[in-house]
Symmetry: C2
Subunit: 352 residues, 2 copies
C-alpha cells in the first residue's frame, strides 16, 4: 500500500515526520511512502538525516503549507497547492491509498472532503478517536469533524464507529451508545432524541443512551455524538489529564517523605501517563471518505506518526471505506433514503 | 435566613442530611432550617440521633418523594406533595429563603421553575457548577439545566456565571469564555457563533471562545455552554478522574517498590483526590430563579450538604436572585427585548 505523508503540517519540522517515515519503512515492509512537502526543504532534511529516495520512498512536491492558525478553507481556496491538499489529491487520483497528516485537523477534513469525496451513501465524514477506559479502549465518534449534525449524521457515525471498533480495536460486536445527559431512553436534546429512534431500529448492537460517567469508566465500545460535543469531551479530558499530573506533581513535592515515595514509584507514573496520553494513540481516522485520511495531533511524536502510517496501511488493506459504504446500506441509513424513510417517522413522533 | 432542606431525596437515608443539618446549625448561627420530608420518618431519625425540634429546626411534612429513577416531571405532576416540591413551595410562599436538595436534579429544576418562577428578565435558569483547575477554580454554566438552548439563554448564563464567580469564588471581574471547538472567533456551531455576537456587545469581561483545553488547565473563570454540553463535560470529567485513580491504583500495586512509594505518599493521594472530587464542592445553585435552590449530588456527603446550606445562606443574604435580574437588565439581554434587539442582528449576520 502507498501512503502519502504530509511532511509540512504540524508544530514540528519535517525532521519529526521523516524519523517516523524511516521507522515505518523498516517496520512495515509492504508500505510505500510518498513524502509530500516543499522539495527543497525535504531534500535538506533527508540529506541531513542521511535518508535517500528509493522505490519505497519518493518525494512529492507541494509549494505551500496550511499553517496551524489559518482557517480550514485555506486548504481548498487560497492554498490549493498546500501539502495536505496535494496529499488528498494523490488519493483521489489513485496514486496513493491513504494520507497521514500530523497537521491542521480542519484543513485535512476540508481537503479530504473536497478531493476524495464521501463513499456512496455517506452524507458527512466523522473523526474517530480511540480513548482509554478502565477495562480497555473505546471509540469516540465524532471527535470533532462536524459542529452541527443531523440525526442521519449521528446514525452514520454509529456505523463508522462500529467498523473502527472492529478494525481498530478488534471488537467483534461493539456496544454502541448514544451520548446523552442520562441513561434513560427519554433523556437528551432534540438531536439525540431523534437519533435514538433511528439507532433503535438499526441492525447494530445499540445499548441505548450513555452519559459522561460511562465514557472513561467503561461499559461502552463506541460513543456516538456530534463533533462539537466530541471535541469538547476530548479536549477537556486531555486538559483534566494534564491538570491531574500538575496536581500530583505539586502534592508530591510538598515534603521529603512524599518525594521519596514518588521516586520509588517513578515508573508507575510513567505507565499512567502513557494510558492517559491520548495523543500517542496513533492518529484519528477521518471515516466515511472515498479514501483514507489519518489525522495526527499537531504535536505528534515520531511514534504517533509511525502508528498512524500503520493504521493507514491496515485500513487500506481491509478497504475500510468500502466496508463503511456497504454497512450503511445494510443498515438502511444511506442518505438517499433519509427524507423518505426516516424523516416522516421522526416528524410523526415529535423528533427533528 | 431560613433554609428548607429536602431530607428525602438522594441515595442515602435522612441520617445523612440530618448530620449535615446539625452541623450547619452549630456552625452558622444565623441559619434556621425547615427539615422537609415524611414526618414519621424524620421523627424516627431525629430520635435515634437525639436531635430535637427547636426555634431553629422545624420539621415540615411531605407525603412522598421523587425517587432517583422517576422522570423530572413527577415533581410537578403526579407527586405535587413530594419533599422537593414542598421545599420549592415554601420558598415561593416566602416561608423559606432557599432550598437545599441532595436529590434528583431534574425534579429539583422542574419543581423550582414551576413554583418559584424566574426573576424578571430571565428566560430559563441555569445550573452553575464550581470546578477545579491548575490555578484555582472556575464556574461551568450551564452544567445541565437545559438540553436545548438559544443564544439568549447562553448570554444570560454568562451573566449568571459572572455573579456566581463573584459571590461564590470572590473573583471581582471574572473572565468569561464561550465554550467552543477552538479559540478563534469564527470557530463553533450555529448556537455558539450567534451567542458570540451577543456576548461581544455586552458590558462583561468576555475573553472570546475557549476550548476544552482551557477548562482544567485554567485561564478562564466562567465557561458558558448549553446544558447538554455542560452535563457531558462534567460527567465525563468525573468519570476520567475516577478512572485515573483506578489506573494509579493498578499501577502502584504492580510491585513492592511501587507499593512502598505509594504508602509513603499516601496523603498526597488524598489531597489530589480532594481536588478532583467535584462532588465535595457543596452543591450547584440553580441560578436565575426568583428564589434559591442549591442542588447536591445524589450521593452527597454530610459535608457537601452542610456546604450547600452555607452557600444557600450566603446567597440569600447577598440576594443573588435580585442581583442577577438587575445585571440582566444592565447588560440589555432581558428576554423581553430579545426579539426586537438581538434577533434581527443575528439574522442579518447569518446567526440563529
Amino acid at each position: 500500500m502507498r501512503i502519502a505523508v504530509d511532511a509540512m503540517g504540524g508544530d514540528f519540522t519535517p525532521a519529526t515526520s521523516l524519523e517516523a517515515v524511516v521507522e515505518a519503512l523498516d517496520m512495515y515492509p509492504d508500505v510505500e511512502i510518498l513524502y509530500v512537502g516543499h522539495k527543497e526543504k525535504l531534500a535538506y532534511y533527508m540529506e541531513k538525516m542521511r535518508v535517500k529516495e528509493s522505490d519505497r520512498l519518493k518525494i512529492v512536491h507541494a509549494e505551500t503549507v496550511v499553517e496551524m492558525g489559518e482557517p480550514s478553507t485555506t486548504a481548498i481556496k487560497s492554498k490549493k497547492n498546500s501539502s495536505i491538499t496535494v496529499c488528498a489529491t494523490l488519493v483521489a487520483q489513485k496514486m496513493a491509498d491513504g494520507v497521514v497528516s500530523p497537521g491542521h485537523t480542519g484543513a485535512a477534513v476540508a481537503a479530504s472532503k473536497v478531493r476524495m469525496r464521501m463513499v456512496p451513501g455517506v452524507d458527512r465524514p466523522c473523526i474517530g478517536s480511540i480513548m482509554p477506559n478502565v477495562t480497555g479502549k473505546w471509540i469516540l465518534a465524532d471527535a470533532g469533524g462536524n459542529t452541527d449534525c443531523t440525526p442521519l449524521n449521528l446514525a452514520q457515525f454509529a456505523v463508522m464507529g462500529e467498523l473502527y471498533a472492529q478494525y481498530g480495536l478488534g471488537i467483534k460486536n461493539p456496544r454502541i451508545g448514544l451520548l446523552s445527559v442520562g441513561g434513560e431512553d427519554a433523556k437528551g436534546n432534540e438531536l439525540t432524541k431523534a437519533t435514538f429512534k433511528i439507532l433503535s431500529k438499526m441492525p447494530i448492537n445499540f445499548i441505548g443512551n450513555v452519559e459522561g460517567h460511562d465514557t472513561f469508566m467503561g461499559g461502552c465500545d463506541v460513543v456516538v455524538c456530534d463533533g462539537f460535543v466530541g471535541n469538547v469531551l476530548l479536549k477537556s479530558a486531555e486538559s483534566l489529564a494534564m491538570a491531574t499530573f500538575q496536581w500530583i506533581n505539586k502534592a508530591f513535592r510538598k515534603n521529603a517523605l512524599r518525594l521519596t515515595g514518588a521516586l520509588l514509584a517513578k515508573d508507575a507514573f510513567r505507565e499512567i501517563k502513557a494510558v492517559s496520553n491520548f495523543e500517542e494513540y496513533g492518529g484519528a481516522p477521518l471515516l466515511g471518505l472515498n479514501g483514507l485520511c489519518i489525522i495526527g495531533h499537531g504535536s505528534s511524536t515520531p511514534k504517533a506518526i509511525r502508528n498512524a502510517i500503520r493504521v493507514a496501511n491496515e485500513f487500506a488493506i481491509a478497504n475500510v471505506p468500502e466496508q463503511i459504504s456497504k454497512r450503511i446500506y445494510e443498515c438502511g441509513i444511506e442518505k438517499e433514503v433519509y427524507a423518505e424513510k426516516w424523516a416522516p417517522m421522526l416528524e410523526k413522533t415529535g423528533g427533528l
